[in-house]
């Protein structure tokens, strides 16, 4: 049997197809290396799209950051935290729903990690998952930018972002 499979794999008509796949993978690797992404290997390949921080009134001591994280790699990744100089701490949060109908309560809960599936996306958006920025030391105004570092696993990887401060998402 083994002999038969070996014979099939090495049969002439399969060779061109295998080399075509290899060539395509090589091209993908080249493209990925050229893009501003986390290097491949044992680390996830994640890019960040449309990040923004909510501009909040001075009386608020917290705000939220939203973005879309795209994982182009074949390994799942996790958003495990973030930090910024303008606040005490930043934590990944999920929105919770409890109860039914009018009695339904919405809340938020801190989580250790938010998953970014392989070849998938993690959407942080108003009313949903978000990064909560707690203990604001300053209140950045609409139109400014804030430095924010997000932490990803596996690989203890960091991505440094310039996050625009806005009152709402850009349509």
């Amino acid at each position: 049997m083994c002999y038969v499979f070996g014979e099939m794999l090495s049969s002439a008509h399969l060779k061109p197809r295998l080399s075509a796949i290899g060539y395509r993978l090589f091209t993908v690797a080249l493209v990925l290396l050229g893009a501003p992404v986390v290097p491949a290997g044992d680390q996830p390949t994640v890019t960040v799209q449309r990040p923004w921080m909510r501009a909040v009134p001075d009386v608020m001591d917290s705000t939220a950051v939203y973005m879309v994280l795209v994982n182009t790699g074949s390994l799942p990744a996790e958003l495990v935290g973030a930090s910024t100089a303008i606040a005490d701490s930043v934590a990944p949060m999920i929105t919770t729903k409890e109860g039914e109908g009018l009695k339904q309560m919405l809340g938020m809960k801190s989580v250790d990690a938010l998953k970014i599936p392989a070849h998938g996306t993690l959407v942080l958006e108003p009313n949903g998952n978000h990064l909560m920025v707690m203990g604001l030391k300053e209140h950045p105004k609409e139109g400014t930018q804030v430095d924010l570092t997000i932490k990803l696993e596996p690989g203890d990887h960091e991505i440094h972002l310039k996050v625009p401060v806005q009152k709402k998402p850009v349509p």
């Binding site: 009386v59 917290s62 809340g107 009313n127």
Partner: protein, 228 residues
């Protein structure tokens, strides 16, 4: 000989005479009338209810006349806004996601109305966290969205009674540090629309508020309703 008798001459084109009381005609007419009548009665009613974007309450009942505290702690009652459409929601200012999102959407809705319409609409944010939200904090908070917005809170019994009267609920959730002021509040996130006659008319889940076009269509319809 050919004798033509007028009596036997047929008149082929003359229509057959129908009796005035033809039961078939009358049956059809009556059935049609009843059908049209019923569809007007129920169809219009149905349309009025389905025509709203928000969840419409039926029959409409007087909205609970809450008595809470506004800027500087002055008492504010819902009934003070008779003649205006009131959009109100529960929340707290330490809320970083749901509350600012709802208020930002309501700001877009409010500011999309004409100046004339705006005079007939009041947006109210009721804090269920009087421990941390003072009238001053609340005023600064809500007016940062729109200067006309009103922030209310009160003593816990008054807040609880209001939340209960509108079928909502809320609960404090202790934060990770266990410090007395480290807590979050899970709360109902509906926006309630009280019509100018003081009746609770429409409900909106927080996700609906971002549809500015449909929201202002509802508000305009409510403002046009005959007052009772």
């Amino acid at each position: 000989m050919n004798v033509v008798s007028p009596k036997t001459t047929p008149v082929p084109d003359a229509p057959p005479k129908r009796p005035f009381f033809d039961w078939r005609v009358w049956t059809v007419a009556i059935v049609l009338l009843v059908a049209v009548g019923l569809s007007i009665l129920f169809g219009v009613k149905q349309h009025a209810q389905q025509g709203f974007f928000g969840m419409r309450l039926f029959p409409l009942k007087a909205a609970y006349d809450f008595k809470l505290n506004g800027p500087n702690g002055a008492e504010v009652r819902l009934d003070q806004f008779q003649g205006k459409a009131v959009l109100f929601l529960f929340g707290f200012t330490h809320c970083a996601n749901i509350c600012p999102t709802s208020l930002t959407n309501l700001t877009d809705v409010y500011q999309a109305l004409t100046p004339e319409e705006r005079k007939q609409v009041q947006v109210v944010f009721i804090s269920v966290d009087p421990n941390r939200d003072t009238p001053q904090t609340l005023e600064q908070y809500v007016t940062s969205f729109d200067p006309s917005f009103l922030g209310l809170t009160g003593r816990k019994p008054a807040i609880d009674q209001t939340v209960l009267a509108y079928g909502g609920s809320y609960e404090m959730v202790t934060g990770p540090t266990n410090q007395p002021n480290d807590y979050s509040v899970n709360h109902s996130a509906y926006t309630y629309l009280v019509n100018p006659s003081g009746k609770l008319e429409l409900l909106y889940g927080n996700e609906k508020l971002s549809d500015v076009r449909q929201m202002i269509a509802d508000i305009r319809a409510v403002l046009r309703e005959p007052r009772s």
